[in-house]
Symmetry: C2
DNA sequence: GTTTTTTACATAGCACGCTATATTAACAAG
DNA sequence: CTTGTTAATATAGCGTGCTATGTAAAAAAC
């Protein structure tokens, strides 16, 4: 009858996410980079000049969260924000040379942390794990969508 | 070569954890309860009168994190803190009647959120998922331990 | 063409995680 | 018994997430 935390997907997910974040943070902190900034850079490395709106859609965070992350990233010299040429409300985020320079080191750090986390899993188990996570994410997103009506 | 976020266990974990936290938050907010407070109550429902040190060990959070959570929980009337009878440095956290009263509603909310998240998984897949998460958590904890030396 | 609504962004305020540091009590050494 | 160290808690400061609200530009309605 007692709620067993070790049987709760949410509890385990929370714990796992904190361990991931701590490990990543430790690895990228020497670069002067923070986890959410790294996550945002992943998108900009893939496509530069995105607007705040585009970024928050791709990363699935709230608008205010992205606004704050972008402000810190501009402060720390990872991006510059310039007004959008066709839309007076929007701003585009552009990578600085410093941000392009740190790409390899940062993705290596993330790869290393993933490697540590998955050490005890076989290749097949790793694939299963990613698949299950994607399906769980999808289920919650769908449900959120339903809730919105 | 490009870092693929949908292939990164850490990225997916972070996303999944945010969805879990948002869902749980929405469900327990009517009770006046926040996620970390719920997590802490899980321990105290199981064993009342724990010290801050015992709680942070069981929940694997930093001491300062637990100190702040306990302060908010006392402020919100979930616990009272009294000096430990045998150790002048320590305090014990004791549940209020209000905290005992909310137990069923809160665990039901957590169960419901887990249910939504796992809708698309079979019983066997759910078991596999929990098992994989436990092993990933374990791997990162072991590695952290090694790092500490 | 003016008015209304929607959209993009900013800001305030809070929870919760972290590191780093201070404080005080307990314990160990001498 | 005094001194030095360890252990339990508190506090400051910050990043990242959230909700709620404000503002200005764009788009839609009329």
């Amino acid at each position: 009858m007692t709620f067993q935390k070790s049987e709760s997907a949410g509890y385990l997910t929370n714990h796992m996410a904190r361990l991931f974040a701590n490990g990543l943070q430790r690895r990228i902190q020497p670069l002067g980079l923070a986890p959410a900034q790294f996550m945002t850079l992943l998108e900009l490395w893939d496509e530069d000049g995105l607007t705040q709106k585009q970024l928050l859609e791709r990363l699935d965070v709230e608008q205010a969260t992205m606004a704050n992350t972008l402000r810190r990233m501009e402060r720390d010299g990872w991006i510059v924000r310039r007004p959008h040429p066709d839309d007076g409300r929007a701003h585009q985020a552009w990578l600085t040379p410093k941000a392009r320079a740190v790409r390899d080191a940062a993705t290596d750090a993330a790869d290393a942390q993933n490697g540590v986390a998955l050490t005890d899993l076989s290749d097949e188990e790793r694939a299963t794990f990613l698949d299950l996570m994607r399906r769980v994410i999808h289920a919650m997103q769908v449900w959120e969508g339903k809730e919105a009506r």
